[in-house]
Symmetry: D2
Subunit: 364 residues, 4 copies
């Protein structure tokens, strides 16, 4: 099956923030056609326009900056557990992990599932794709199908904080090797979603220096995504990652202060060149949702800043700045990166992954 | 001269933010009596109450949470360059570095000068005291007097970002030795003062990942303050410090994410014990501005938070939390600390230093 | 029964934000002794210290700036619906309106109930007391007891937005009469509590110009509180109040822009005098929680500001500024006021009301 | 001269925030060609790309969300006082009022000047145009030319807070008449520009309830812009406007809570219809910078909100919501409006005015 054919898509969790971002990302998409929307039982049977209407106040619960694409408003929302898949080629899911554990296997039994949930992220036979980074992990798809007896498969995207970090590390790992990584994140409130989300009362004039489970996720996922396929399994990348993850009063865009020890000495210019050239092959694929650059290095001394840089290339580019030598880690460098947590870090990144899997033939 | 005697004090830069914080810190002080206030030529000759009145709007330019102590309102402000010192025992200065270069030598020629300015911070014969940390650096006072032919001396306090870091490191350095330090700061806007300060337009929904010269200051000062006196000079502490300093939208309180490699293995409990016991001798001095603890470790998982913890013990205690093992640095630990940048990190810290120098006889 | 006797008090809803504020307000109270704490079934049977501990993260859910008074930590929390009243003289309640409808009548059947809930606020036989404003409404207590067959009674406090407005209006109404009031509020996020509260995502870099039911509450309550007792009922004050209520990104402190048409012409100085003198009689009672002033007029041109003024007299004083003539309303004046929504506007205001009712003999 | 001819334009104050917004608004403009840029002496003689480079840090001082149009980077900035006008048809100025008083007369002696400065706003022979509102005020141009002996003329735009208010009032004034207006504004920090601008320290977790001179400006300008031309002068609109103007912690977008007394009774639907239809004639002109609607009424109960609505039609549409009856003013209505203060409220609004003056032949 070629990229020219339009795949029929279902979006599960369509009424939530991430689900709505899927809809925006899939509007007028050349390769995907949204055929079905699903959500929890509460929304099932309602038109999408009614499902996002708050009954008591009459307010529309639409959370994206872009308006809701009109073509989706009249689709009847289905119950996620009873979603009809007969005319569906791919499912995009944007639901809580507990719900994903229940419904994603049902879908994956029949079709590929590209997910933003963490439910299956740490399973041995489940690849966590990042575009341009680890397409070789597709070898796990056959393993997963065999293990689980599925016709489809499930592939969750990484945690939003992992995304920018791995994009910045991959070209360095490839060219110079990596000995260790120390990272402190300053994460946006949109990363916590809406239920419960982050109360203004808790974060205004404040920082919350702990996000449960986040540091473990980033550490584990970075090693997994940069790991090598060996005999049907992933060998985690052999360097340690140590993180402190904090929440700051920023709407969108995760900022990360990164210190990297390289295995081989590299000049700052070498590092910049690696970022400049590291994704040339992926970018040459010309995928519909791919930005002109996956990482962009800026020489502006006070950048990247979340409010000014998060929307570069519609939030699909990780912006890096402040590259300097570090004198603590061996062959150390340090830099600051910014990654849009709800664009490349969530739904639109998942759509790009979907395109990538089609282009490479992993989704037929 | 004993602590019992009240010293006569001049506050220079009294109309600015840090100067006003000196006034609040010196209100009803048992050891210090404010005799003179000085500021730039523009304020000279005015009553203090008039000097802080904005002529065009009639607004009072008073920036502390605490009201202005009434006893200072009627003092006539003198021109800093012409300050009369005949009846002054100590000068506290809170002025820009350029101005400090001019007037601090004039004062120091006659009396001790405890300063918040960085003008002399990096001079070889100038001690940078932090209470409870490096009173042995007082040996430089004689060197400085001899070098410069002064009767008094000048001692600037550290940069506000250095303060919390060194308070957290000192007990570890003493007990376990330190191999290296990596730190990312998230600094409050009050650290930038009022001219120009940080515009809301630049920091709202944002982070600025660069503060000019800040990282070099923290790195250099940490090594200097923890350095050893040897033959009339300071040997910088022999471990590297690597920082990234950022500005966040918090009013007061610098948060720092710290990774430390220890020279000797220590359990997390050992580290907590070091913090608990590390300042016992200093605290036993019972100085008027000293808090019950210089560092406080909290087991609360989401703390320290700037809005909730910065005012512990009136901003004189560095609050530490989230102690964990780090697997990157040798014998690594990581933690988050919070230090009030305009209390212990500025004027009130300088007053405490003044008390300390009196108690130890360095100021007679 | 005299003020000298210490009343035994139960606090219902003790684990929530407002309930915790009651505990802070009642710490070491000369007239009240906290004997019992109650909350929902989930907390019942636990020690208070355990009831405010988050099981999964181990975090302490304590929301006040002041630490939790130690004496309450070991009290066993009771189920609000089964609260034992045998040794209780007064109940303070801080619960949602739906829960209040169920339990407040149970308590009021036996003892006086001073509430922050709106459940009974609009009932004809229920007085809504504001200290210094409408003690004559106590005539309704007998009516309520007779109507409902209760030995005690219930008296809810006003909505937090009503509080500052009525404090500013009362002296004007008394001296000059009021023809009409137009008010726009800019309300703090703490007014929305914690469930659901206001998400940072919704209010950062933003204003929400609608708070459901708030405008109706303010309009109705203002007329009721300033109404006259006539033949066992309240005649609403005969002037119209028209409001727009908005939410802004401020933690504590409701700001209100007020335009008032007076019935009789008054100079700006007359108005300031009215505020200065309007509560002299109430203040002369010397109640334990009463501030030195219920309203304070500031001549500072840029004040009142929530962050700088909300804590005046521990949040018990309404701060007014910017008094000017208005040329739209007849005998018009306009001003800006600031009232602490969770101090005088909630629990501590309710405690002051309790003191007031004791002092005036309404609670025996 | 027809609209088809491209006018040659100079932008004065090009290095400042408003000047940069002019450049963004004039990029690829079908009617205007930017030929010259001018600024203060400090920037004169430098390429624009160098003039906006901070010498000490190397940072680019560019303040718009949109990148700087490349075609302007190589233009050499001229000194505003020595700007060459030989090849210029129109000057757009974006400078402080004091500077405008000096240079605008120099320019206006030769060519039309469309300004964002207030310098000439209150002169009797100076029209303050708002697109679609008062093109009849063009009669003042001839008066101004005669009075001052100028070949060109100067026309400043209104204060940014006036803009949204007048757009909302104009259709009501025309259809129903207006008796009085009461308005409370909640203004964004970008309205204060960058020097000095609003410090984060002053506005975080805060409201500043006073903006010097703002209220007088709004009151005077509203009456002037809605005034009638009579015998070569403007008779101010005969209704009173009473304002309280406050600053809130929002980046862009002024929110206004408006209460209007109409002369003739109108239903809420009548009012909505007036807004819907009130600018049909102007919109039919099809000016390049004109939005599809000058005012937009939303039925969403929680809107308009600055972060969600300020960018409607690139900030050129005033968004109105929450229309209700008001029971204080005669035939009273109340509503909330939102207007983008640095788009329609500043440079892009001025460009639209320029287009309007060309289309109507006032600029030939």
């Amino acid at each position: 099956m070629s990229a020219a054919k339009r795949r029929r898509v279902a979006v599960v969790g369509a009424t939530g923030v991430a689900g709505q971002q899927f809809l925006v990302s899939l509007k007028n998409h050349p390769w995907f056609e949204v055929k079905r929307l699903a959500a929890s039982e509460r929304s099932a049977g309602k038109k999408f326009s009614d499902a996002i209407k708050d009954a008591s106040s009459g307010a529309t619960r639409w959370f994206c900056d872009e308006p809701c694409p009109k073509e989706f408003l009249s689709i009847t929302v289905e119950h996620a557990e009873k979603l009809i898949l007969d005319d569906i080629d791919i499912v995009f899911t944007a639901i809580e992990s507990d719900a994903a554990k229940i419904v994603e296997p049902i879908y994956a039994a029949r079709v590929p599932v590209v997910s933003t949930a963490s439910a299956f992220r740490y399973e041995k036979d489940v690849p966590v794709f990042l575009p341009g980074v680890n397409i070789d992990h597709a070898a796990l798809v056959a393993v997963q199908r065999k293990n689980r007896g599925w016709k489809g498969f499930v592939t969750p995207g990484p945690n939003c904080t992992t995304v920018g970090l791995v994009f910045s590390l991959k070209p360095l790992y490839e060219r110079f090797g990596i000995g260790s990584v120390i990272m402190t994140s300053m994460q946006a409130v949109s990363g916590a979603g809406r239920s419960p989300g982050v109360l203004s009362f808790d974060i205004l004039d404040n920082i919350v220096p702990y996000i449960p489970k986040e540091e473990e996720k980033v550490q584990t996922e970075t090693q997994k995504i940069l790991g090598k396929i060996d005999n049907g399994t992933i060998l985690s990348a052999p360097f340690n990652v140590s993180c402190t993850c904090t929440r700051v009063n920023v709407i969108d865009g995760h900022t990360e202060s990164v210190f990297v020890g390289l295995q081989n000495k590299a000049s700052l210019q070498d590092v910049k060149n690696a970022w400049r050239d590291g994704y040339a092959e992926f970018l040459s694929l010309g995928l519909p949702s791919a930005p002109p650059e996956l990482v962009h290095y800026t020489e502006e001394p006070f950048r990247p800043q979340p409010r000014l840089d998060r929307n570069m290339n519609d939030g699909m580019t990780t912006v890096i700045g402040r590259l300097r030598e570090d004198n603590v880690l061996p062959n150390g460098i340090k830099y600051v990166l910014l990654s849009h947590n709800t664009k490349m870090g969530a739904a639109k990144g998942a759509v790009l992954t979907g395109e990538y899997l089609i282009k490479t033939g992993i989704i037929e």
